[in-house]
């Protein structure tokens, strides 16, 4: 283990932190439990939530604390209550601790005090448990629906255990069920962006309230294609199967999700991963980062009309894609990570392929960076645009390059060393400007760092097994797994269950923490830069879906012909 990793994972420091919390809230804490190496679960009463969470997250010395995830679970079959866990992590150079602040909520009184007024980063989490579990955050500043569609009936909570995953409640769309967008500020017009917009690769809706071209305020809406993956994972799939579904949460950073899930289960079940597998996981994660960052930089170029940069970035990305295909059998969704290790080994010929591609990539990318940064018009478009202040980044618990461009010095690879990162040397680029250019530069530097990490990993990779045998995962163990996806920290929470199945699985993609900060970055900018700012956050792209129409009367799935499809999409989009 490298020196820096030893320092961060110092057991004494961790103890001091945990003790401080216990000392301070001695009379409020019901139970403390260590779930895994760096994870402590602290149970408190629900009334004390804002105070305890506010204390940890705004602690003056623990820099870069953030709300990593928040899990609501229906534990009624186990304890007759619902549970909430706020996972707060301490990042940066201060240490490596996850606090799981847990509380139980009874079914009769499904209310809890909202943390959002103290820490806005909890906004989405609390709205989500309201939608999916029916737990009501009291004092939440924005209690609109988040996840469920407009026509989903009130009082049906899909994540409760009494809701079967194949259930489909009767839904009726009326005019009243339209989403309650904020009224435009006086004297502004609405500039709707999405869900169908050429420059948005994801169906999200931004409602820009504009004065001419100046964005005065922003409202948004997401979750147009909420797929209910967590529900499927809890009901239908076995531990192993979940891994592949987890990989398909995202079309870009699948391995990060698969890895986070695998690590969570490994932490919960105490599975030891062979060292060689850790190295292979690291290389795969970095290859993924390479292609994701190149994609994002290319899209940033495309969004400002600089198609030369776009095409060149994609040409470079093609090397990475080719490499991934040779290493794993596919350009994306590598399918490498499974619980306990990886599926394919790096054979010698593959190793030399990696070395060759990495070399080409380094040269090509340096040339690309020179060319792009010397294109004045490109730099002009990115400089000073979409500024996210450090304060806002912290307020919203932002992660990844989005936060690092605003001066937040956090990176899960370094702060919570997982896989083989603890054996490797690398820098975490941080820029303080907070504009689109800063984020582009963070990504550009990370590409070079990733290349360096891969080179080290290949050199230092030990021999041995690539997959640990595991027999059984003990039930009702809780743990979080975390990875640094290209867009930032991904956190998966698992609570193991019986019969080779999960009891609760909570996925938190990095965009979940980054997205709510977008309005702050967009306010005061021009409409022209809206898509650029959105792209610079690098939102998650949803996988394409096939259109199928369920005929309500016969209940049959009817497959559309091409002609019908065209006609239907025209009608639907024009609202005829």
């Amino acid at each position: 283990m490298k020196e820096w990793a030893r320092k961060i994972t110092d057991e004494k420091v961790r103890e001091r932190y945990v003790n401080e919390v216990i000392e301070r809230f001695r009379d409020k804490i019901i139970r403390v439990e260590r779930n895994a190496d760096n994870q402590w679960m602290i149970e408190i009463r629900k009334e004390d939530l804002p105070e305890v969470i506010g204390y940890i997250i705004n602690h003056p010395e623990w820099k870069e604390t953030q709300l990593s995830t928040m899990v609501g679970a229906d534990e009624r079959p186990l304890r007759g209550k619902f549970s909430l866990i706020y996972w707060i992590s301490i990042n940066g150079a201060s240490g490596d601790v996850f606090f799981g602040i847990k509380t139980y909520i009874s079914e009769d009184d499904p209310k809890f005090p909202s943390v959002t007024p103290i820490h806005p980063g909890a906004n989405w989490y609390e709205r989500e448990v309201k939608d999916l579990l029916g737990l009501i955050p009291e004092g939440h500043p924005d209690p609109r629906r988040l996840v469920l569609p407009d026509d989903w009936p009130e009082g049906v909570y899909p994540l409760r255990k009494d809701f079967h995953y194949t259930d489909s409640p009767k839904r009726e769309f009326t005019d009243e069920t339209k989403y309650p967008y904020r009224e435009p500020p006086k004297g502004t017009a609405v500039f709707p962006l999405g869900p169908y917009h050429v420059a948005l690769d994801e169906p999200g809706h931004f409602r820009l309230y504009v004065k001419g071209e100046e964005i005065v305020d922003v409202d948004y809406r997401l979750f147009y294609q909420h797929r209910g993956i967590e529900k499927i994972g809890e009901n239908r799939l076995t531990y192993d199967q979940v891994n592949f579904i987890a990989e398909r949460i995202c079309g870009i950073c699948g391995t990060a999700h698969a890895l986070a899930y695998a690590q969570a289960v490994e932490a919960a079940g105490g599975v030891e991963v062979p060292e060689r597998a850790e190295y292979i996981r690291t290389v795969m994660a970095e290859i993924e980062r390479l292609h994701s960052h190149l994609l994002n930089l290319g899209l940033a170029c495309h969004d400002v009309g600089f198609d030369k940069g776009f095409m060149d970035a994609f040409r470079l990305r093609e090397h990475v894609m080719w490499l991934a295909e040779r290493l794993t059998g596919n350009r994306k969704t590598y399918g490498m990570v499974v619980i306990g290790g990886v599926r394919r080994d790096f054979l010698e010929y593959r190793r030399s392929m990696i070395e060759k591609v990495i070399r080409e990539l380094r040269e090509g990318f340096q040339k690309w960076a020179d060319q792009t940064l010397s294109t004045k018009t490109f730099v002009k478009r990115c400089e000073g645009v979409g500024v996210l202040s450090y304060k806002d980044a912290k307020r919203w618990s932002s992660v990844g390059p989005w936060a690092r461009g605003s001066g937040r010095d956090l990176d899960a690879r370094r702060d919570h060393p997982f896989a083989a990162y603890k054996y490797l040397d690398f820098k975490v680029p941080v820029y303080k400007e907070g504009d689109v250019l800063a984020r582009c530069l963070v990504r550009a530097e990370e590409i070079l760092e990733s290349i360096w990490i891969i080179e080290q990993a290949l050199d230092e990779m030990p021999g041995g097994d690539i997959l640990a045998e595991w027999k059984e995962i003990p039930p009702y163990q809780e743990a979080v797994g975390f990875t640094e996806a290209p867009r930032g920290e991904d956190v998966h929470y698992v609570m193991t269950g019986e019969g080779n199945r999960l009891y609760r699985w909570r996925i938190r993609a990095s965009t979940y923490n980054n997205f709510p900060a977008l309005p702050d970055a967009m306010r005061g900018n021009s409409v022209a830069d809206a898509v650029l700012i959105i792209a610079s956050m690098d939102p998650c792209y949803s996988c394409t879906e096939r259109v199928q129409v369920v005929d309500a009367r016969s209940g049959k799935v009817r497959v559309l012909t091409e002609k019908e499809l065209t006609e239907l999409s025209r009608k639907a989009s024009r609202g005829v």
């Binding site: 017009a189 609405v190 071209e213 989009s573 024009r574 609202g575």
Partner: protein
């Protein structure tokens, strides 16, 4: 010919007399009054048409009215006829338009007084542009200013109207009337008699550069030339729209007439003066139009454009003066440049009149002139939309409308002058033409484009009489755009008279083809434009496409909101946000414009201060007289319920005093009195000079 002119005057006077018995009936009084003014306008147009052949020959019609106490000499030449044409056509349009429109103002009552003021106002302008005696010129000028002021404050229950009116009143007297009076006094001292103040007598005198300055000041402030434009954007929109049309369409043109008449015909052509006028024009067109760009009040926007378009006229006239003064081969070219300015004068009168009438129509139906809340009127008021579109494209200078022809000639006059300075003025004119376009694209699309808003959804097309009034002007827009030869010869007349040059080699107008030649031009370098051929080509091309790709919407769908519903009222750019980045960029220019405007009003108030100080010294002895007049006025007002025939004649003047008093209430009593005295002194000077 004289008879037709006399008929015009008589018809205007008759309109005054005819409404006096109808004071109880608002609508009838206005209708009857406007029937007479309409007839008067027709008669004026007839007079113009009849006199045309004479004017084209470079001759003038001269006659004199002997009123017993005084003789008013008249001299009607090409320049006068240009203005007569403007006054006649605008007068006719407003006369048709007004009866219905004035219903909007019924709550104020006093319909007869409106007609009296209207007729006096228009008549005074007719007389200004035809009289050939400077004393009478100034007298009518003052009558025009005074009646226009009273018309302006018609909507006197509105704070801003009274303020704007007062601003107008003070500025006009200080910056326009006063210099003219001073000039009059100086000239009278030189000429020695009233007959000596006849223009042809004055032109024989040797007059110094001070007169240029005085006339520039006097007419410049009336025309709204920067920096003395600050009153105009407040004053013109304050009036009822039909009056605004006359103010912007005609009154400020009279100032141009005055400028040309005095400085070119009386004082003589001066190159430096020409440059000054051209530069002032360029500054004015730039400042006025760029300010107009950010207005969202329909009428205020139009008023700022009046400032801007006056700049074009001044640029044309100034270039004309400078080039004509240069002499030689440039003399003829200068005449063309001046004709371009005059062409724009006529055109501006027509399309700006039409625009104000359109804004009035919108106001009439929607009770608002705020472009931010208007929308979708094209569907509800299709003809108004069409006429507005024609006017908007005319003022924006798009072929084949009239505005383009005059702007094109102004470009020719400046770009081909061979003079860097004038070329630069032309460049600015070209740039501002784009700004004008921007502004009117905004004006048209915010009011008429899109879907109706809550404010406009109940609007409907205005009554036919209003449409006819506007349609007449729209037809003129097309006529002067498509058949430039119908007017260019007349416009060339003043230049011909001034220079005595033969223009046939330099400009030719054959039916609808205009060809211009400039000094130093290489052979085969003549520029020409044939609007009919353009329309033909456009029509054939567009028509062919329309036939090949017929345009019949079978089904109309909603606009694309990228997938989420958006309320239509929120899905439109607000008028105030059009061209935001551009306006933001030139805010420095706005700032300097503000400074100029402050400077102008500063000078104005300084002069006003001095003037008031003079008045103060006269206050003491004038106090008694003033009080006498006021109390007499009050007595008349209070006891004037039953008006006998003799009083019917006096009553208007009493009402004038009353109107004045209403205006004066705005300021402190002391200031009030001071200005009352100042006005009285002015009148006194006039009377003394007139030899009464």
């Amino acid at each position: 010919m004289k008879e037709l002119f006399t008929l015009t005057v008589i018809l205007y006077l008759l309109s005054i007399l005819a409404v006096l018995p109808l004071r109880k009936n608002y609508r009838a009084s206005i209708t009857v009054g406007h029937v007479f003014t309409g007839l008067a306008s027709i008669s004026l147009l007839a007079f113009t048409a009849m006199s045309l052949p004479e004017a084209l020959k470079g001759k003038a019609i001269e006659f004199t009215y002997n009123l017993g106490v005084a003789e008013i000499p008249f001299h009607v030449d090409g320049l006068s006829l240009v203005l007569c044409l403007v006054l006649g056509s605008l007068g006719l349009a407003t006369s048709i338009y007004s009866p219905k429109y004035m219903e909007f103002y019924e709550r104020f009552g006093r319909g007869w007084l409106y007609v009296v003021l209207y007729s006096t106002f228009v008549l005074s302008m007719v007389l200004i542009v035809t009289t050939s005696n400077f004393l009478w010129f100034v007298f009518f000028w003052e009558v025009m200013t005074f009646t226009s002021y009273l018309l302006m404050v018609w909507e006197n229950d509105e704070e801003y109207v009274r303020k704007a009116g007062w601003k107008y009143f003070v500025t006009m007297h200080v910056a326009s009337t006063l210099p003219l009076i001073v000039a009059l006094a100086l000239l009278y001292a030189k000429a020695g008699s009233i007959e000596g103040l006849n223009f042809n007598n004055l032109s024989k005198l040797h007059l110094g550069p001070i007169y240029y300055l005085l006339f520039l000041l006097g007419f410049g402030s009336k025309a709204g030339v920067v920096p003395l434009h600050f009153w105009l954007p407040d004053a013109h929109p304050a009036a009822p729209s039909n009056v605004s049309a006359l103010l912007s369409g005609a009154m400020i043109k009279v100032a141009v007439y005055g400028l040309i008449r005095t400085t070119c015909f009386i004082l003589g052509l001066n190159e430096t003066f020409g440059y000054i006028v051209a530069i002032l024009g360029t500054v004015t067109l730039t400042v006025g139009t760029l300010y107009a760009l950010k207005q969202t009040d329909a009428k205020r926007l139009l008023a700022y454009h009046s400032v801007g378009q006056m700049g074009y006229i001044w640029l044309g006239v100034g270039a004309g003066i400078a080039l004509m003064a240069k002499g030689g081969s440039y003399a003829a070219f200068g005449a063309i440049a001046m004709a371009a300015g005059l062409y724009h004068l006529v055109n501006h009168a027509i399309f700006k009149g039409l625009l104000f009438l359109s804004a009035g129509s919108v106001l009439y139906r929607t009770h608002t002139r705020e472009l931010n809340v208007l929308g979708g009127l094209a569907k509800l008021m299709p003809l108004t939309a069409l006429f507005t579109f024609i006017a908007a494209m005319s003022i924006a200078g798009e072929p084949p409308f009239n505005g383009f022809m005059s702007k094109w000639m102004i470009y020719q006059g400046t770009f081909l002058s061979g003079d860097g300075l004038l070329v630069f003025c032309g460049v600015m004119a070209l740039f501002i033409s784009a700004a004008t376009l921007a502004s009117f694209v905004k004006f048209y699309t915010t009011a008429f484009g899109g879907v109706p808003t809550r404010v406009t959804e109940n609007a409907e097309e205005v009554p036919p009489s209003m449409l006819v009034g506007k349609g007449f002007l729209a037809a003129l827009c097309l006529l002067f755009g498509l058949i430039p030869s119908s007017i260019i010869p007349l416009l060339l007349a003043p230049g011909k008279v001034l220079t005595g040059a033969d223009l046939s080699g330099w400009i030719s107008t054959k039916y609808w083809l205009v060809t211009i030649k400039a000094p130093g031009m290489p052979s085969g370098g003549e520029t020409y434009f044939n609007p009919w051929l353009l329309v033909g080509v456009l029509g054939v091309l567009a028509g062919a496409m329309l036939v090949s790709y017929p345009n019949r919407p079978k089904k109309v769908v909603k606009v694309w909101t990228t997938g989420e519903p958006v309320k239509m009222e929120h899905y439109k750019l607000k008028a105030m946000h059009y061209y935001g980045p551009f306006e933001e960029y030139i805010h420095g220019l706005y700032h300097s414009g503000d400074v100029l405007s402050e400077w102008g009003s500063g000078v104005c108030s300084a002069v006003a201060g001095g003037y008031l100080a003079l008045g103060k010294t006269l206050l003491r002895w004038a106090d008694k007289v003033g009080r006498g007049i006021t109390s007499a006025g009050r007595w008349y007002v209070e006891n004037g319920k039953e008006v006998y025939l003799d009083e019917a004649v006096a009553s208007p003047f009493v009402q004038l005093v009353k109107g004045l008093a209403i205006g004066l209430e705005e300021l402190s009593l002391n200031y009030n009195l001071l200005l009352a005295v100042a006005v009285a002194v002015l009148g006194l000077i006039l009377l003394i000079l007139a030899g009464w």
